[in-house]
């Protein structure tokens, strides 16, 4: 079971509170997590990644086990703590606007 923490605005859009949990088949990668998230919550399509290019929206970042994985290969395996659910995968809105 994968645990995902999203910004408040995305939780509101998805009508969820707190963490989201997903079951992912196969290797647990960022791509797999986001694909699963968007499949279960289609209202989030386009809000984390662009619809067509599938590129990350510029003001969002991804963290796993305290590490910024934003610029790492989206198909690289994430740490086993993410795959086991011991640690959540974070989608974080960049601090901007000051």
């Amino acid at each position: 079971m994968i645990r995902i923490v999203m910004p408040a605005h995305l939780r509101t859009l998805a009508a969820v509170s707190g963490e989201v949990t997903l079951e992912i088949e196969g290797e647990v990668t960022r791509q797999a997590i986001l694909d699963g998230l968007e499949k279960r919550y289609p209202m989030l399509r386009g809000t984390i990644r662009e619809h067509v290019s599938r590129e990350r929206r510029p003001f969002l970042r991804f963290f796993a086990c305290g590490e910024d994985v934003t610029h790492k290969d989206p198909n690289a395996p994430l740490p086993p703590e993410i795959a086991s659910g011991a640690e959540p995968f974070y989608v974080i809105g960049a601090i901007a606007g000051g």
Binding site: R40, P42, R45, L60
Partner: protein, 395 residues
């Protein structure tokens, strides 16, 4: 007695202001979608309880929201709260926030680049929906004007959107440039006399008209003069801020351009300047009285750099002669130390016998005049910066 419902989009959410026909006491609901930019909300003329809203964020992109109960509850079309988000095959239902430019070989082929501020070519990139225009007849049909400038249409209540590519593809698209606020399609007018006719306007490309329901388009900028572009009378390139039409005379259009207030008596085929005695002919909003096609309203703004009222006095100007002769309307509006702006979609007119005029400011005030502009009062004073104001006249 009739009622009015004012739909206010702000930098940090939407607000709905409701009153009876006296327009003295108001109920305020909101913020809806707190923390998001609400560029525009508009109700369906065919079903006033159907309201569409453009909810945007620099972080999370575009979302379209819809209410079917007059703004009490909202959902993203295709994914109503509590209902399945996927069909039996597991595919997502609805793609209400998916605005994808037409790049098909058949119709999207010529749609490649527009100009950037420095004249270099730049590909179209979707940013947000500036304006939503529901069909006059069908609550499920709705148009969206977007940045980078293009026109989209939904025929299923906002669940899915398709571009009307004839606009970008008619021939001048590669010459369009953004205005200071971005290259936005901000005005959509559906002609009540001729259902095949649509007017739109883009900053800073100009005004365009379709006579076949949005399939083909032509620029309608003859008579516009813009001294800040290389060819002041070019076919396109004019920074049109807003266009308004009176339903009873569909060929009569009024325009607030970056500089100049203009009118057209031939559905945009030609324009004449009617700035007359305005203290400055710069501004963003323009609108027409509900019952008097030649009575129009603007809010002059000091520019280019300042973008606030002249001398710190917030004044609406009214012309009862279709332009040229203007009178300031000040009663109830701040006449000192006022340095707010009134953005292009932030004025609206109701249809009550004593015509109501509304506008919102970047200082968070929404003002109403229940008597055609003679007297003004704030409905609210301290909202986030107001981006848009629309009003529904309800039975």
């Amino acid at each position: 007695m009739s009622n009015v419902r004012v739909l206010v989009g702000t930098r940090k959410g939407a607000f709905i202001l409701s009153s009876d026909g006296k327009r003295e006491k108001w109920d305020v609901s909101g913020p809806h979608f707190a923390g998001w930019e609400l560029y525009h909300l508009k109700g369906s003329p065919a079903d006033p309880n159907r309201i569409y809203a453009s909810q945007t964020s620099g972080w999370f992109g575009q979302v379209i929201q819809r209410s079917d109960d007059g703004g009490k509850t909202w959902f993203q079309p295709g994914t109503p709260a509590g209902e399945p988000t996927t069909n039996p095959q597991g595919m997502p239902i609805g793609e209400s926030n998916k605005f994808v430019y037409d790049d098909s070989p058949e119709t999207g082929k010529p749609l490649t680049t527009h100009q950037w501020y420095d004249g270099t070519a730049k590909p179209w990139v979707f940013k947000r929906v500036w304006h939503i225009e529901p069909s006059l007849d069908d609550p499920d049909t709705v148009y969206a004007g977007v940045e980078d400038a293009a026109l989209f249409k939904s025929t299923n209540g906002g669940q899915t959107w398709a571009e009307l590519p004839g606009l970008r593809g008619h021939g001048t698209g590669a010459q369009w440039q953004p205005g200071a606020g971005g290259m936005c399609l901000h005005t959509i007018i559906l002609d009540p006399k001729n259902r095949d006719r649509i007017f739109i306007a883009i900053s800073a490309a100009g005004a365009f008209r379709s006579d076949d329901g949005g399939t083909t388009w032509k620029p309608i900028n003859k008579g516009l003069h813009s001294q800040y572009i290389p060819d002041p009378t070019a076919e396109v390139g004019h920074c049109v801020h807003h266009v308004a039409q009176h339903p009873s005379n569909a060929n009569l259009l009024f325009m607030q351009k970056h500089w100049d207030v203009m009118r057209s008596d031939d559905a945009g085929d030609s324009w004449q300047e009617v700035s007359g005695n305005l203290p400055t002919d710069f501004g963003f909003v323009i609108d027409v009285h509900a019952h008097e096609p030649e009575t129009i309203y603007v809010v002059p703004i000091k520019s280019d750099g300042e973008h606030y009222p002249l001398d710190g006095k917030l004044r609406v100007y009214r012309s009862r002669s279709g332009g040229n002769e203007w009178e300031p309307l000040t009663k109830g509006l701040p006449q000192n130390n006022c340095y707010v702006n009134v953005l292009r979609d932030a004025m609206a007119i109701d249809k009550l016998d004593s015509c109501g005029v509304y506008f919102g400011t970047t200082g968070g005030q929404v003002y109403v005049s229940p008597d055609g502009g003679d007297n003004w009062a704030p409905i609210v004073r301290d909202l986030p910066a107001v981006l848009s104001v629309e009003v529904q006249t309800l039975p």
